[in-house]
Amino acid sequence: MLAAILDQSSLFLQQLVNGITLGSIYALIAVGYTMVYGVIQLINFAHGEIYMMGAFLSFSLLSGFFGFGLPFGLAVAVSVLVCALAGILLDVVAYRPLRRAPRLAALITAIGMSIFLQNLALLIWGGQIQSFPQNAIPALLSEPALQLGDVVISWLQVVILSTAIFLMLALHLIVHYTRIGRAMRAISQDKTAASLMGVNVDRVVSYTFAIGSGLGGVAGILVGLYYNAVYPTMGYFAGIKAFAAAVLGGIGSIPGAILGGGILGLAEVFGGGYISSSYSNGIAYAVMILVILVKPTGLFGRHLRDKA
């Protein structure tokens, strides 16, 4: 039994690396869900679509889909910026008018927006899987950064992981040490009290959407590069998995989302590698359902409103 495991140790290490890479991407997306939920108690179903847009925008800007091409760095920056703006727009157009409506109305709207955006992408870019043009992305990314026996860590994986860590640290600083972060935390405690204390709720919510969507956009670009595949339904599955990660960590908690993303990434890679690859999506659903049924507050979540 032990020997069999040792035999597989290099496979195991490789899977570990892949899992952490995937997990860091899920964490980036999950943070977007968690931040929005923390501030306005809405499950933003359309968040996965923002992530998909990030991938598509960077693909289009690099491949000249819109009739012009941009250098790699600029294309990434523009895509992330557009994603952030799209997040704000999403909130202003779809969710803000429903702030006072029943929660169910906003949730249904979020689902509607998700379908709308996904099919919009289908109309614009078509349903087939697109790949990044190889000459547009830095060649270094596809080279191995580190090789230990059979275990290969590519530069791209290094970039993904370091970007994720950097962004998470930046997010931590924003949430804990800036005015806007303080306002976000205040609103998530008590929206009415915060607005009475002079916090401009709408503006803070916009910032929240911008940050969350920007991170989602980054995740989209990274995944597009990692799998070298961009397609309209990519946001659907990634969105669900990231949401499961957010639930696992405790929705509303940013560290929870990061931890949840990591766990889910590992679970997916190991589950897919060892148990059954056809059920790798199912792991996310199962984790999500189990967590909700057994411990709805997740690993770090606070208690949500009571029913009574």
Partner: protein, 318 residues
Amino acid sequence: MHLDDRLFTDKKLYLPLLAAVLVLPWLPMGIAGPYVLRVATLTLVYMVLALGLNVVPGFTGLLDLGYVGFFGLGAYTAGLLTVHYQWSLWLVLPLAALNGAFWGILRGAPTLRLSDDYFAIVTFGFSELIILVIRNELWLTRGPMGVPGIAQPDIFGKVLDQPWQAFYLILFFLFLVLWVVVKIRSSRLGRAWFAVREDEIAAECVGVNVASYKIIAFALSAAIGALAGAFYARWFRFIHPDMFKFWESILILCLIVFGGMGSITGALLGALILIPLTELLRIVLPAELSNARYLLFGLIIVFMMRWRPAGLLPVEKE
């Protein structure tokens, strides 16, 4: 008086309804042939689905995002039983509905204490899991190969192979389901659901056992979905996991959002308008873009929630 209250009680409605039912499907036959009848049948299937889904989000106020799971469950139960044992429709259909109800209860029982958005997520995940199992358990469901060659519906040993026969068959089921939901809506059972929707605590305090009434709603809703699925399998004669994707759940949800959540006539109207529209879009749009028709449903949902959250035929009196 709301139209819902007049169903099966107001005798003035009987005659025009009967006339419409008997005449309408034949009118376009001369122009467009069996295709129109096919769309009409499909519309009726979705009407049944809309009525079934309406029970949970409309009556008890819990958002169900995984209704297509029961549709698929019913279709596969009926399809596989028919293919393997050649059983009659009238045996397969109740079995499918029972199986649907069973899973509806199983899904619902642990969710009783969850808040509304968590319930929505669990329903979504559950239906995705059902479809995933259908796709992957080849020994049972043949997975992505689908189940072809399902026998057509039958009655008293006679095979109903004419399109109009299937149409009237589903019409019969529609009336059956309609009767059930209309009767329940105006009974103590329906009122208990409304009470749960409005205020669970107050419902308990007037003596409603919230948990068991939620369970009844889950079971009924799932059974109706599975019934529609069973008919669909026998009528379409081929089932495939891709027919039961998440978007179908949203399409059914869209039907009742459009017509008005909780409104029975609203659900019927929603299906009556949107399903033929879907089929129209399927023809108009080029093949590779035909899936983009869901864009419209996304828009409809968003616009309805923004400007007419109570739907076209709202239940509440203004």
